[in-house]
Amino acid sequence: MSNIDDQKIIEGIVAGDEAVFKAFYKKNRKYIRQYILKNSGNEDDVEDVFQDAVVFIYQKLKAGSLELRSPLSTYFYGVSKNIWRNRLRKNRKLVVTEEIPEDTAIVEASILEEIEDREREHVYRKHFVNLSDTCREVLQLLFLGKSMKEIAEITGYAEGYTRKKKFECKKHLIEMIEQDPIYQELKITSEKK
């Protein structure tokens, strides 16, 4: 892929262009899929890793901290492989896996650290997007710092209902997060530090 193509994709990712996401997904998912399925993963893992790798790149692009020394697809595969390898390593108690190929041990230390740092965020987002529309609407406003009164006004719900819904949704979200094996493993790792 030429630099011009890469530049267009990068611009599309930063702009959140759905057509670019779709083209990127169609072109690159199969390679990630091949790698993950051959290394103890399943189709859901493929989707998670693909999304989290794109989000990782998006955040780096937004922060202006992405220095591409290779084509974007190469960088993307590198990030995806490292995300998956990191998860396999963390879940080794849960995943029965064959030995991971030697070459995947090769990682850029800085990228690996960033991937590790972002794991918790991926877990939060993963469970947030699985909430009901009502829960997402109420919690999104809460996270933006809106008061119960403001949320009630925006959503059109009664304030009492909004308050109740907010509690139930947030409690459910935290419980789902806490049950996530990746989160549990991250918690153990951070407590050991």
Partner: protein
């Protein structure tokens, strides 16, 4: 600690600085004596921090949507394709009759390039500079680690003795690969003797160099040789070979 609406409200007010000075002092005192509450506050804080970034959330949501759309398109394509005997027959004719034409028409260049990108990972920079007083070597390996492959090539081409003494051929070869000098990379990898500890690695990168040049015949030949060798690159070679023949 049981999660209640009251505790949540208090934590949220604390995080958004909405507690009065008295309430704040009381809450901080409560936290100081309750590690479970401390952890709960930390959890809320982290969740609020991450999920208040709406733009990133939107990206995640769009990716989910895209994935669902593509899957739908793929399954409807499969259904359409195999929905009648005539279509099946037509498909067989297409596959058998013009398979070669299709292969040539589809942009195989992109496919091979993506295969290369999916299988290439940089050769690890071993700690060959440990206890090494040679600043030139240290600088080369620093550049290699930083991905400044152009500088590595320049330095190693200048100091060919160093390449021989320190067995840096594989580093020079992969640096050539990363600077689009595939023919030089091939020559470099071919130069590495089968007595070298880097021999197998050099064959693996040689296969990738040919893949980059779209010479699948040579790639396949070398991959088969690596599989036969039964070393650490065998699994990689099997995977790439399977991908090439899929």
């Amino acid at each position: 600690m049981e999660r209640t609406p009251e505790i949540f409200e208090k934590i949220e007010k604390y995080l958004t600085n909405q507690l009065s000075p008295e309430e704040l002092a009381l809450f901080e005192n409560e936290m100081a004596n309750d590690t479970v509450l401390q952890k709960e506050v930390a959890t809320h804080k982290a969740i609020h921090g991450t999920l208040s970034d709406q733009e990133t959330l939107e990206v995640k949501e769009k990716l989910i949507k895209v994935s669902e759309e593509v899957k739908k398109e793929e399954s409807s394509f499969t259904r359409t394709l195999f929905s009648s005997p005539i279509r099946i027959a037509a498909t067989i004719i297409v596959v058998l009759g013009v398979g070669t034409l299709l292969w040539n028409t589809i942009d195989t260049t992109d496919e091979l390039r993506n295969l290369y990108a999916a299988h290439y990972v940089p050769f690890p920079a071993e700690d060959i500079t440990r206890g090494e007083p040679n600043p030139a070597l240290q600088s080369i390996m620093n550049n290699y680690n930083k991905g400044a492959y152009g500088k590595v090539v320049k330095a190693l081409e200048k100091d060919t003795n160093l390449v021989g003494q320190k067995e840096l051929g594989v580093y020079l070869g992969t640096s050539y690969l990363n600077t689009n000098q595939e023919q030089s990379a091939i020559a470099q990898f071919e130069n590495i003797l089968n007595t070298s500890k880097y021999y197998e690695a050099s064959r693996w990168y040689l296969s990738l160099a040919y893949l980059k040049l779209k010479n699948t015949t040579k790639t396949t030949e070398i991959l088969e040789e690596i599989i036969e060798y039964k070393g650490v690159y065998k699994d990689n070679a099997v995977r790439l070979l399977n991908a090439l023949t899929e």
